[in-house]
Symmetry: C3
């Protein structure tokens, strides 16, 4: 087994630039909850990881929901009376109300404006709007564009889309570890040209999967690239039993801007993934926010519905709706930056290391301290600069390893990081002073 | 069933003025732990609610206590050498040491002053003093009155009272609800002309009972109008088994002045009534105080004795002994005010609403969120100004209704008030998404 | 039974001066983990208490350890080329590296300096150094002495010591109480001429034992005077089963300087001894520190190893390593002072009183309050200045004595001290209102 210990975050081959480049590649595609935009995006991810693309037919019943018709779009525009395109899908995938039904006709401004969406308070930005479950069509445009239109003018509107029986498409990649216990990393792939809100999560999940794929791992790792809400509901409906293999999970999104990290706890609130993320965020010494679960947000809503109640939290930076660029054309390639992506990747990497290492041990000489000196245990590590902290790590491990304290528990009490405890525990196991519990 | 929801506090017919007027009517009566003052007071309350008046004979053994002799008083005064009444019971019922034995004779000041009680630090106020269980007589007067008396003068003292076998009198009113589980509202009726310390509680309890009497209710409501200590001991001794029907209870007193609310927890400390009151006080956003139970104060001492340990707290404003008017003639009709009485009434009303509504539900579609849109559930309420919070209420209810969280639990987590949750739960029950648990 | 109540801390015959005088007597002796220095010290203690001296042969296996060879020393010095003693064991027992093997030869400074230990940052102080488990010899001296030596000079070094099969010696004194449940007081006796670090603990333990020996006690009290680490390991190995009779315990050391008290919790963290010490320290109103258990420090490391996990904390003033005099010649007779020793003794005395008194009672009249007045219970104590607090103590005792709250629990809730509660409980027991539970 090549332990992840040998691949600490700082040694990872993944750089902020690689994370950013993948975002650049995915940015122009018009994704939605179904359709070719999703397929095209998953094909790009397949250049990095061998993910499986699943197709679920429209009309499939998934719990209380039905997989919707597939939506595809080729072009869309509004032309003014002079025939000039004043709103053009080719300039931004956000210009079309996502899931718009096809339309092509001339109409008065009075009629058209019922289908126009703008942000008066942010007049230079295009809003992102959807209408998945109510058939409608519309255009999103900057309020400045809107103000330039005239009441008297007739406009030609064209949305060259289709909404037909087809499939819901999602990507899945399972890395099989020693045990069938799974760590879930889930990200949504239904947002069109938006960088922080979904591409940052997709990029980090993809390259995380790629890095992990070459390692021997304790846990199995399941990566899901799914449309929001209907995607997680579909996956859970199709895997109603095996979903319970998920022992730890994170929904990943909103990781590319400069905001501090925010961790939203799982519904259970104090599971191992909650403890790990909170411990590591606290240990960074940097400002961060921990919030309790609430039934709104991303796909953790479904994973944490009471019938599943899986130990899945959501790790992000500034939460949705709390930054002005959210769901606008300003969530673009300027908004996310390589160093923030890299820092977020490192945090995920450390979380996984910690989960992998968070074992529980049993002290085999529990009555009084064993004599470490006669085993050369001090000497064995005295050459290292941090020998003092290694000695303390030994004492903590021996004292707390009564079978009821994991390395994370010991780390929390001792303020010694889990990775150090793991290295020292390995030494104590070699000397038959500790035994790893199953 | 006419749900209390349709009678929210703000719609109650009870105004601060009505609460105040009842206090005005009760104020002149000389109450004590027994006697005609209590009977006369209960007769006034019977004009509002059909309460039953119970008479318990002197000498009745009630646990470790014995119901005392009945005390009645007709007149009392001190005359100076000129025959002028310098202290006159007709001016204030406080002038007589409550439970004074009869006396009528002339005596020197030296002898008399052993029976005089004043407040040197508040020289214009008459103190309130009692001697229930040690036979004695005395007068309470302002220190200014006392200073006007002369050492050499002979005084005529008269207390035209009787202390004889008779009865302890208390009032009781039970409103029968759907279940035999009871909510107890208990107030003491043994203080003479004191407004905040006991009349405020009596007035609120009476009009609360009157309002509730016209409603169909989940719980049964027991209102007790009893003399302090011996009254609750007597009631508990006579209802040793049925006392355990009390599932929630409040002792009510000290509610008419401008002080912030104070809630003294039940002995158990975290029962439903404790949670409800604390939640509502916190939700007011106004300053208030929560204090742990301590075995001193009002009749909660008896309800919370270890052999009963009933879930009964005490809701008041400024606690006893912590305001200068306490147990003096300054606790009068100027000290209590209609707006404070009304605010306190509203709080009790909301507490009862919350208890009535605090049900637990089971999500019947617990795997992932149900699709609310296809049921028109968003639309059903979209006309309402608070539709956004109603949608959040739906998500909270669905997510938390695993059978282990009451509406109050959900309210505490979501900061959505119980009344809103109840309304939304009713809608979800109609759509067979929730089921109310018994 | 003469209750310790009649011997409150302030009445104890033990004065700070007596505690200090015992330190003066023990100070000159060169103690170590074995040898005649320990025997000589224990003989001095035997003048105060009839402790048993145990001898455990070198080579005895004690869990993972082996009792080492016995070390004795008669003299040691370094002479310069002129034959002058420039370092002399007779001036300070610290001058010799503790457990030095014998040596007597002339050598160059280059060779000698590998065996010299100084404190460059505290140049006037002699450090205290040991080498118990690695054979070595050496001298400890002030850095000023070191700087006065010359590179070119030849030195004569002599350590007249022996390291041979012999015994490990420790002292033990058991005061048998009503029950076999034991309170352990453990102090280390292996440090040579150091006052705060070990003599303060030895002195307090000795005179505490002496005071207790004349009392009838509920608990049995075991006093251990042992070498650090190997001593507690030896005792635990020889008493592997009976060690579990220890129900409460304290390691005593570092009690003679002016620092605030520090309490290091037992590994379990919330045992009765932890509660008692924390309650009493909080009640002093003086600054103090409570720290969680950590597996480093004194013999609590062994008592709290996971195979024993005994309820043993460590009570000290400024912790080891946190004052500049620690393990230097400045931890001398000037550093510890009689008033600090006396205050520490009083704290131990009060801890023991509290343990002795911390009973649980059952209210025999648990339904409502009993009528105290008719029993003259108010009167019985009304002559005392603190009668009001006695009455409150009665109410608290009656209310909380449901069999699940000890006097300490009641003290914590009521802020009434345990001693007062005990006195009042005795009265209530006499009146058959409370019954002491076994």
């Amino acid at each position: 087994m090549i332990s992840p210990v040998t691949h600490p975050a700082t040694d990872s081959h993944v750089t902020g630039n690689r994370l950013y480049d993948l975002i650049v590649e995915l940015f122009p595609i018009c994704r939605s909850i179904t359709g070719n935009g999703v397929r095209q995006s998953l094909q790009i991810l397949q250049q990095h990881i061998p993910l499986t693309v699943h197709e679920v037919a429209s009309g499939t019943q998934v719990f209380d929901w039905t997989v919707p018709k597939e939506w595809n779009i080729r072009d869309a525009y509004i032309k003014n009376a002079k025939g000039e395109k004043i709103v053009d899908f080719k300039n931004s995938t956000l210009h079309v109300l996502n899931y718009s039904t096809p339309v092509h006709k001339k109409m008065s401004f009075a009629e058209l404006k019922l289908h126009l969406f703008t942000l008066p308070s942010q007049p230079s930005l295009i809003p992102y709007r959807t209408s998945y479950y109510t058939e409608n069509w519309g255009f999103c445009l900057s309020h400045n564009q809107y103000l330039a239109m005239t009441e008297e003018e007739e406009y030609e509107v064209c949305i060259d889309s289709s909404l037909e029986n087809g499939h819901l498409t999602y990507g899945e990649y399972l890395i099989t570890g020693e045990t069938p216990d799974e760590v879930l990393i889930s990200c949504h792939i239904c947002h069109p040209s938006l960088c922080n809100d979904n591409l940052s999560g997709i990029s980090i999940a993809t390259l995380l999967a790629k890095e992990l794929s070459s390692l021997s791992l304790r846990y199995s790792y399941r990566f899901l690239f799914i449309p929001g809400t209907i995607g997680s509901i579909t996956w859970l409906a199709l895997h109603e039993q095996s979903a319970f293999n998920i022992k730890h999970g994170l929904v990943t999104t909103l990781l590319g801007n400069q905001g501090n990290f925010t961790y939203k706890r799982s519904r259970r609130g104090n599971t191992e993934i909650d403890q790990v993320v909170e411990f590591l965020l606290t240990n960074t010494g940097k400002e961060h926010t921990i919030i309790d679960f609430f039934p709104y947000g991303y796909d953790e809503r479904q994973y944490c519905s009471p019938g599943f109640n899986l130990p899945v939290g959501c790790l992000m930076r500034t939460p949705h709706g709390q930054f002005p660029e959210y769901h606008t054309s300003a969530d673009n390639l300027d908004f996310v930056q390589a160093p923030y992506l890299q820092e977020a990747f490192s945090l995920f990497w450390t979380i996984i290391q910690t989960l992998e290492h968070n074992r529980t041990y049993l002290n085999l000489a529990p009555k009084c301290e064993p004599q470490l000196g006669k085993r050369g245990l001090y000497k064995a590590i005295s050459g290292e600069a941090d020998s003092k902290s290694r000695e303390m790590a030994m004492l903590w491990l021996l004292n707390m390893s009564d079978g009821e304290h994991s390395l994370l528990d010991i780390a929390s009490k001792s303020a010694i990081e889990v990775e150090t405890l793991k290295k020292v525990a390995d030494v104590l196991v070699q000397h038959q002073l500790l035994q790893q519990l199953p």
